[in-house]
Symmetry: D2
Subunit: 296 residues, 4 copies
Amino acid sequence: MSRATILFSAPDRPGLVARLSGFFYELGLNILEASNYTDLHGERGARFYMRVVVDLAGLAAPQAHDKLGGSATRSAMEAAFAERIAAPLEGEWSVGYEDRVARVCVMVTKDPTCLYDLALRQKQGELPCEIALVVSNHPTLESAAQSFRLPFYALPVTKETKPEQEARVLELLKRHDVDLVVLARYMQVLSDGFLRDAPPVINIHHGFLPAFQGAKPYHQAHARGVKLIGATAHYATKDLDEGPIIEQDVERITHALGPDDLVRVGRDVERVVLARAVRAHLERRVIVEGRRTFVL
Amino acid sequence: MSRATILFSAPDRPGLVARLSGFFYELGLNILEASNYTDLHGERGARFYMRVVVDLAGLAAPQAHDKLGGSATRSAMEAAFAERIAAPLEGEWSVGYEDRVARVCVMVTKDPTCLYDLALRQKQGELPCEIALVVSNHPTLESAAQSFRLPFYALPVTKETKPEQEARVLELLKRHDVDLVVLARYMQVLSDGFLRDAPPVINIHHGFLPAFQGAKPYHQAHARGVKLIGATAHYATKDLDEGPIIEQDVERITHALGPDDLVRVGRDVERVVLARAVRAHLERRVIVEGRRTFVL
Amino acid sequence: MSRATILFSAPDRPGLVARLSGFFYELGLNILEASNYTDLHGERGARFYMRVVVDLAGLAAPQAHDKLGGSATRSAMEAAFAERIAAPLEGEWSVGYEDRVARVCVMVTKDPTCLYDLALRQKQGELPCEIALVVSNHPTLESAAQSFRLPFYALPVTKETKPEQEARVLELLKRHDVDLVVLARYMQVLSDGFLRDAPPVINIHHGFLPAFQGAKPYHQAHARGVKLIGATAHYATKDLDEGPIIEQDVERITHALGPDDLVRVGRDVERVVLARAVRAHLERRVIVEGRRTFVL
Amino acid sequence: MSRATILFSAPDRPGLVARLSGFFYELGLNILEASNYTDLHGERGARFYMRVVVDLAGLAAPQAHDKLGGSATRSAMEAAFAERIAAPLEGEWSVGYEDRVARVCVMVTKDPTCLYDLALRQKQGELPCEIALVVSNHPTLESAAQSFRLPFYALPVTKETKPEQEARVLELLKRHDVDLVVLARYMQVLSDGFLRDAPPVINIHHGFLPAFQGAKPYHQAHARGVKLIGATAHYATKDLDEGPIIEQDVERITHALGPDDLVRVGRDVERVVLARAVRAHLERRVIVEGRRTFVL
């Protein structure tokens, strides 16, 4: 059995759940999961968000053939959805297929924690993806990548070589057919141009945004004497640390922990927060709306 | 605008979301919120659970009149749902109306924490209910109840007078038209007969069930040296501390806390857990399935 | 048995634990609790912090008489501590006595949650203090205060009358012999002059400082799409929301909660955080060091 | 600079903090950290627990030489502590030295999560130990161990070969000079004899003890419909799942998670709980008292 997951948003109006569920019902595609939310106070006015998971087995049924004009393929389904649902309802949508496994590029520098975490989770079946390659600006983590049999590319970068290095990374993303880039403690700021040309990029910020933006957040947290430290996973946008937040969490600390201890405690939060965010993205649960996300 | 909330469960089959949402769409009743879940591994086999909140304004529209045979009332809607949805799908269902505010009886003994908490939340609009009365087996909390202008009944109970006392409580529940009983640290075990005749009863157990059942759970927790203590809100059933769990939470403790400190820490967990459970019940989010609950 | 609690800090040097514990041992005052911490990276260099709770029963013993020169009183003990410990070690210190119960002024505006919470905890013995009075700039919470038999003063304030109103509050604090002011959702900024003349002031900020300073933090949090909201209890200083943090906590939220829901969720965090901070202060666990606190 | 950590417990009496801190002061050994706790309600009566970290640099000073009779070595210090402190106070004690790095044996079966976690933390300096070897009853994790350059021994076990297999493990522990055994999801029950002859053993139980003892705790949790699942790290004793608890934690779950999801969520809790417990043990913070632990 293969599944498709549809994310949809549109201006709110009566009957949207019925319209969407009716569409799939008529095709004979059983709805396995459905969740929706109407945001009454959104920046674009009241808006409806829905996630639907359907069983594609129904595409083989006579019902789907008839409804889709004798060509019950995925592209016929997509064309019908665009025409009958998205267009009249002025909706935005995307679709993903379970058997089209997402390909992920993990970018790192020297800290191995998040890389090990993602690689191990992928191996244990927690993350529905393949890790296509690991890119780093340092050679440090090569053996870690190799222990999971992941292709590793060390592409050092300096201020001067940044355009060239980013071009090589973009070329690797293209060659490896990458759907998602995960910055797993990659200690470089990506250029606007890179972010424009790359697939979606998820970053882990080792602080509780919007507090402690920028570098050395744990040192900032220590100096301010906070009692909790956190981590934030967000889509990378050209405004650093301002991208839409996917997931956050915190851990309790005390005065007895110095900045180095905060780094240690923070690592545990970071890797869990990053893994949850990557998982939510890969399961197609996240809809971005301006600076916010809806995680359905 | 008034709303109705429908809870529905049935054996899983294709098209259930479409069937239910289509039913309301045809009547012109806009779906404001919908969530559903299919439990593939349930004791009764794969089973579908859904919560739908609809805008009743549509009952006044011509569409509803036509579809319901010229009598677009709530009872006509209920009859149609029973006939067209519940019966053919072998479903179990219930409906609640926002403007029919639930009436709650809070039962207490001497500890005021949960009583104050519920009364204050109700007053601040956090709990969609009226607190119709407070019943206690001790007079201690009379002034607390009175400070919120809540009718207070002190009905002492001994082993001998239990049947009589419970009969009087049942009579009060009937007279005050009570929909929900909340045991807010009521230190008596209710008889099977009482539970059979009373409306739903939610209890707060000051322990993390299923650990530490029975009396003095904090003393048990201290003796065992656990590092977290918890509280559990559940529907009361004839098997003490075995009813379906609605909500649980824990708080971290250390060896430096004695049994009395655990009572203090536990109180904070108890009242929050109880309030969340009562709120979930009042918002009609809870479906009981055997010993489990689905909180939609 | 009565107890004294000593808070002490000094530049770090060898033998400090032995020096302090030896001092009390020689007087025959048994140490009931002791905890200490050395901050190696403080702004004033490596610094030692210690909290000691001693049993004052020993003041009646011959040993104490001898060591204190025949006058084994609390003031003799304090004088000896100042001379033999604090002066040679360049230490800062304070002492509190269990039988000298702290007197607290709770300041409120319209929101009753924190007031009820503090009053109930005090009544149940969770907070070692008396609530001497409640001061508000609105009459709203008079009956709430009265239900706990707490003196209530409504002192409205406008921009023009602020100096006069604050003078009246200061006069009340003096008349009621207040040791601690708790801002339990008092929606006014206190002047520098007030803070200079008043006893210590603890404020609850309904946000996770240093994020979301200033007004309407929950609306800020909603617009930014954060996944956790928090509350921060801190000493009030002339720089608003910049005082030393005593306690913080957070609660998880989702996109499905609007700003009003965040207010509700936030209330639960606020009252627990405020109560913990007040309790820590009253138990003399908090040492302020610049913008940080050490909670021993 | 090297450090020693002393754990001490004794029947409570006046002056214990002064006695212990005085002892080290006289030797010229500066106290770097000290914490103590008196349990008034213990099974052996009121009892005092203390952890002291001292700077051993002082052993080279003339003061220590004099006080220890001209032989200021570690063994002289230990002998003096035994004679002057432990014996007269009827205390129990142990000492560890920072430069005598603990040697750990990690025992596993097939699940790699905890092994990777411990190995990575050790490599990053979070755990003050060396991982001397990995022992498993399956060959599955050999390459994982090798990627961290850890000696790996696959010692399959059946009911019949258990005595022999355990004897071989004991022999390995001896040969590798192991101080601590960590059962990182080792799916075998160790015999009483093994536990008697082995160094301390820490086990991770994938459930919130004392609920859900025994096998398949996540399936038990699912059937009972709990809303939180947990993990417990404890010293292994001959009564399975009854050993003294070192650390516990929980994670929130919903009805929407099946038993397999609970396993996934549980893994995140397990590894963090196990790492915290191992760290606390290695930092010599844990004193066992009957079925409880004091983590200082």
